[in-house]
Subunit: 243 residues, 2 copies
């Protein structure tokens, strides 16, 4: 079984392969997302805007499984001349990156809505990757995964592509609209909105500092003014870049 | 003295602060880019499109110096409400990242010229960061620097912003024009073109694999067909993402 879903359940804080394993009734897989021999489990993720895949434009993805042979099998089944699949053993990192990047995409959309420019947006993506990596590592993911296609690659596409739903929610909020109004007028799901709740909760549980996620949460759910939230991020104490 | 120049000299393969130190006549600084007490040297770099800075849009940068006190002084002099400066001790990494990212930006422009989409471009930026980090580390830089604002941050801006000169050169080549024609009609310098020669030479000297840089070199200087070069990149042997 190959999961291509992205998100973190609000109530249980479970990843998609954990949900699948639970539904399949094997609780031994819950904590590590690795399948048994008779039903191997993988997560596929990467910079994969569906509309581009449907036009056969070149793309890449990651097939992650704790079962290396199954990861290679998924790689071989999905690889084509225009679709390049890499294997990865880090199911936790691939799934967390795919979910958490949607929170950063909402922030990127807010930058777009404010017309704050590409300098600001690139800084946001860079610092966003730092904070989602920090939480991922605290939860058992490999930092390397966040530098790869399912991390950085997917993050860039989601923050840059005009058609991204999460970025679009952010853009409308950046232009001054309220979350309820924005969601009412959309005919598809912006999974980054509920994911923001899950990521903030995980950050608190793991005691990880995530200033961008906190700012997105405050704007979405606490009616924080977007300009004030951006200004907070820009005027934190000056720091060394590397902690 | 604060260097804001980006590039690698073709003949000497020196970084800007090395050139400055040489011109100032202190050969002891050549190999490590750190200044003596009476003339400290720093390199500033980051996602800083000039047109956006001139409009006071929010931006971030890195002030790098082997002299930590001087780095903090540069940070404090340049920091404003809308311009956030981080310090970094890795002058080599900050300068190499700022130069090498222009080669990847040409490749990103080629993707744009081919209308190959954001999935492909995000993958290119992700794999591009991997290969410039690899060369940087082989030359004594810190891998962390490449994950930061002067690395990833600047790379994203340069690959995404329509006004980027290096990206624009790539876009025109991706649309089928020849390098000579493209450069003739530009009224500003696309430093990524000569930098491609320097980076390829450095990759050979340090025995580092840089498939994207090699592809850009082949397209720019060996008349390699752009579609063939892209296809080469997409059909390399399937791999694990993390080496």
């Amino acid at each position: 079984m190959v999961s291509v879903a992205k998100g973190i359940e609000n109530e249980t804080l479970m990843r998609p392969t954990q949900v699948i394993a639970q539904v399949l009734g094997d609780s031994s897989r819950l904590s590590w997302g690795v399948a048994s021999c008779n039903s191997p489990l993988a997560a596929m993720s990467g910079p994969n805007i569906a509309a581009e895949l449907a036009r056969y434009l070149p793309a890449t993805a990651v097939a992650a499984s704790g079962d290396a042979a199954f990861a290679r099998r998924v790689q071989s089944v999905f690889s084509t001349q225009w679709f390049r699949v890499y294997t990865n053993a880090d199911v936790i990192g691939v799934e967390l990156a795919g979910a958490m990047k949607n929170v950063i995409a909402i922030a990127a959309g807010i930058i777009d809505g404010l017309a704050a420019g590409n300098n600001a947006k690139s800084a946001l993506v860079t610092r966003g990757l730092v904070e989602i990596t920090r939480l991922g590592v605290a939860m058992g993911a490999q930092a390397e995964t966040f530098k790869g296609l399912a991390g950085l690659g997917d993050l860039i596409t989601t923050c840059v592509s005009p058609e991204g739903r999460n970025r679009m929610v952010g853009e409308r909020i950046g232009k001054g609209r309220k979350l309820g109004d924005v969601l009412e007028t959309m005919d598809s799901v912006a999974e980054g909105v509920p994911t923001t709740r899950s990521v903030r909760e995980l950050a608190r549980r793991h005691n990880v500092e995530m200033p961008i996620t906190e700012a997105v949460y405050a704007v979405l759910f606490e009616d924080r003014d977007v300009l004030a939230a951006l200004s907070d991020l820009m005027t934190r104490d000056p720091k060394s870049e590397i902690q």
